[in-house]
């Protein structure tokens, strides 16, 4: 009797089910408490949401670098946060110079484009050198080896830049055109957040076009599918991999400038660490190796971080809810790894890729 049940009963599944129910319960109860209390108005929620989208689009731009490299090499480039830092930190000096001469506020569009280009090129160079010097000699070795090399490279880059520019904090100058806000009804949307979101969308669209429509994009997809066969088809694999690192680096560098417009302060040699980890989380959330997944994962993470502490944690009566913002981000990572290891958009990975 009930034999079929006892056969299939497993403590692991049971625990995971209980966990699922508890989490859903916590989210529902927390949100209900907060919303019924009504301390935060609708307009404020919208503001939080939009700020989250902006922060999320910066995560997404960095996450794309993780996902591109993973898609092709199946390795996590943990030094990617430092690639972001390299562009952001170097460009702060250009931005200061542009501000001093007044060019920044005279023709802001041109100045910002120049900064993005410069940061992109710096980060691209760092990413390409990283691949050429640190990763290529290790291609084909066990997967742990490049991973640990990446961590070492990350420290190397941090302290190289500390040596170059010092350990103090810098800040991007304010661009007059990005101050102020757009008024829609009772909702104020800061101009800078519209700029962040729009420019991130442009860059992402550019990447999508590059990968899906261009010749080199086709080669990238082919290499990601099967390196050996791609080689037989006459594709120069080394060049394609270098190109992929370069594209990821360019996106990270431009994210550095966009981030500098959005959150101007706190530019120093260590600034890439947390965004790097958050972007990695975003890439895993969306399904690592999946390009639209990284975009979606980044936006999702940004919004969850912005809304989560006030909506769920404050509602549950947890003290210091805003101190736990990072906890929310990394709890999301753990939950995704438990319940949906392939990520939101990821397909179930084959044996080879997993």
């Amino acid at each position: 009797m009930f034999k079929w049940k006892t056969d299939e009963f497993s403590w692991v599944d049971f625990t995971i089910d209980v966990l699922r129910i508890l989490i859903v319960l916590a989210i529902v109860v927390g949100s209900w408490n907060t919303l019924s209390e009504g301390r935060i108005s609708f307009a404020q929620w919208v503001n939080l949401f939009i700020a989250g989208l902006s922060q999320g689009s910066i995560y997404a731009l960095i996450a794309l670098g993780y996902t591109l490299v993973y898609g092709i090499l199946l390795m996590i480039n943990f030094a990617h946060g430092e690639v972001f830092m390299a562009g952001a930190f170097s460009t702060v000096f250009l931005a200061e110079a542009l501000n001093r001469t007044g060019f920044l506020n005279q023709s802001p569009v041109l100045a910002i484009l120049l900064m993005i280009l410069f940061a992109g090129l710096v980060s691209m160079t760092v990413a390409i050198l990283l691949e050429r010097i640190a990763y290529r000699p290790l291609r084909g070795s066990p997967r742990l080896v490049p991973l640990i090399t990446a961590i070492g490279a990350s420290f190397f880059l941090q302290y190289t830049f500390r040596g170059l520019y010092g350990s103090g904090f810098k800040a991007y100058p304010q661009v007059k055109i990005l101050q102020g806000a757009l008024q829609i009804g009772s909702i104020n949307i800061p101009t800078v957040q519209i700029f962040v979101f729009a420019s991130a969308l442009v860059l992402m669209f550019g990447l999508y076009w590059l990968v899906e429509r261009s010749r080199i994009g086709k080669a990238m997809r082919a290499v990601s599918e099967n390196k050996e066969v791609a080689r037989l088809m006459g594709i120069d694999i080394d060049w394609v991999i270098l190109f992929t690192f370069g594209v990821g680096g360019f996106l990270a560098g431009s994210a550095g400038v966009i981030n500098g417009m959005f959150r101007p302060q706190g530019v120093n040699f260590f600034m890439g660490f947390i965004p790097g980890i958050k972007a990695f989380t975003a890439a895993v959330l969306g399904g690592i190796g999946n390009i639209p997944g990284a975009m979606l994962g980044g936006l999702f993470l940004g919004v969850i971080e912005a809304i989560g502490p006030n909506l769920v944690l404050a509602g549950l009566g947890i003290p210091g809810a805003n101190q736990l913002k990072d906890v929310i981000a990394f709890t999301m990572l753990v939950l995704v790894l438990i319940f949906r290891p392939q990520g939101i958009l990821g397909e179930r990975l084959s044996e080879k890729k997993a």
């Binding site: 301390r39 935060i40 108005s41 307009a43 404020q44 503001n47 939080l48 700020a51 989250g52 922060q55 350990s167 103090g168 904090f169 810098k170 800040a171 100058p173 304010q174 806000a181 104020n188 800061p190 959150r263 101007p264 302060q265 706190g266 120093n268 260590f270 947390i274 971080e305 912005a306 809304i307 502490p309 006030n310 404050a314 210091g320 809810a321 805003n322 101190q323 913002k325 990072d326």
Partner: protein
């Protein structure tokens, strides 16, 4: 194997009991002595934050100590003075690591440091256990001089400071807000660091005690860049003034995002000496104009002479923050104490008792320092506190600090202007 074990045991016993007996021929001190041979220098240690975001504090204090040593022509009791600096960062781990290196060096007579209160909490147990002493020029957390463990106190013997206790600084901010700005409601933000949390709590308690309304007390974490969530929460409480005694760059993020948060456009802002640097105003930009700031304030002829010496010897631009005079006083207290307790043996060896040195510092009374009259107290919650809290002021940032890098900002209030103590 057994014999080997025996040899090791005997050797260990010899080292444990024999060696000190041999070395401490003339030491009567219960904590042991520093012995300095005839031709050896007197070593003064320092644990300061000389790298990273808070390095401007460490450099500030280091300069103060160097000038104090220079003021004695690098000589103490006819010996050269050697100054050793370890980086204690601004964290408990950094303080612990620096303290371990200090404690391993038996020639160090005393230590100036740490820079941050968090680092002191990591360093103090090791320094105290080693029988050494530390004089901090910039720790301000109330918990460090409080020995009531239930109330979060972490005081241990051997701890002294010439910086003001935040019981003074937080209260000054609160009295300024209520008596001068006449605001009714307050929100506080700290970042989990014992210094920032202590200050936020003292501010809130004093503000509440003066019939103010504390509407929000929250926290962010170090490394946060996006403050929109907590600022939205604060906007919902509608305070007149927001107090965020956190470090840079978090304070810069808070200030620049606060002015753009709907509902907080009119709110006043106040921060504390954790952001007391010229770069705070410059990095924050226009949002910094009008921010009130409590911080160290030293004046007088002796101090002007000190600044002149700084410009001549260290940096034309002047000190980078506000704790150089505290470091100068701390180093002088230490050197005076060494002079008072050191005994010269017949063979020319200097013997300095560690407990005697602590006692000498504890008995400092009405010492005329750059930062005012210093009296080191013995009773908790001010155990080891040498400063009185008079060397403090409220500053207000103006256009000149943001655009031209002028520092420090103009003073708008001092403790002597407070009514009713």
């Amino acid at each position: 194997m057994k014999r080997l074990f025996l040899v090791f045991t005997l050797f260990g016993l010899l080292v444990t009991f024999g060696a000190p007996a041999l070395a401490d021929g003339h030491c009567m001190d219960e904590l042991g002595c520093v012995e300095i041979g005839p031709d050896e220098p007197i070593v003064i240690g320092a644990m300061l934050s000389v790298s990273g975001a808070t390095s401007f504090y460490g450099e500030d204090s280091r300069g103060g100590v160097e000038l104090a040593i220079l003021g004695r022509d690098n000589m103490l009791l006819g010996r050269d003075i050697e100054f050793v600096v370890e980086d204690s960062l601004c964290s408990a781990e950094g303080g612990q690591a620096a303290a371990q290196r200090m404690a391993a060096d038996e020639t160090i007579v005393g230590i100036i440091g740490t820079t941050c209160s968090g680092a002191a909490q990591g360093a103090l147990p090791i320094i105290s256990e080693a029988g050494m002493l530390m004089i901090s020029p910039s720790n301000t957390s109330p918990s460090l001089t409080n020995d009531d463990r239930d109330a979060g106190g972490t005081y241990l013997p051997g701890y002294f400071r010439t910086a003001h206790n935040d019981l003074f600084q937080g209260a000054l901010g609160a009295r300024f807000a209520v008596q001068e700005l006449r605001v009714g409601s307050l929100a506080t933000i700290h970042d989990g660091d014992p210094y920032t949390e202590g200050l936020a709590v003292v501010m809130a308690n004093t503000f509440g005690g003066l019939n103010g309304d504390v509407v929000f007390q929250g926290a962010v974490s170090k490394g946060d860049t996006d403050m929109s969530a907590i600022l939205t929460e604060i906007a919902a409480s509608g305070p007149d003034i927001v107090y965020f005694p956190v470090f840079v760059p978090e304070s810069e993020f808070i200030a620049s995002q606060l002015v753009n948060t709907p509902g907080l456009e009119e709110a006043l802002m106040m921060t504390a000496d954790g952001s007391f640097s010229a770069t705070f105003a410059q990095n924050t930009g226009d949002a910094a104009v009008g921010i009130y700031m409590t911080g160290p304030h030293v004046s007088g002829d002796a101090y002007d002479a000190f600044l002149g010496m700084w410009r001549e010897e260290i940096d034309e631009a002047g000190p980078p923050s506000g704790f150089h005079a505290h470091a100068y006083d701390g180093a002088n207290l230490l050197m005076d104490a060494v002079e008072a307790v050191a005994e010269e043996m017949d063979d020319g060896t200097l013997v300095i008792g560690r407990q005697a040195l602590r006692d000498a510092l504890s008995s400092v009374e009405a010492y005329d320092g750059l930062t005012g009259s210093l009296t080191c107290q013995a009773a908790s919650p001010y155990a080891g506190d040498c400063a009185t809290g008079d060397a403090l002021a409220v500053f207000s940032i103006t256009e000149a600090e943001v655009a031209e890098g002028n520092w420090p900002p103009p003073i708008v209030w001092t403790p002597s202007m407070a009514s009713g103590g």
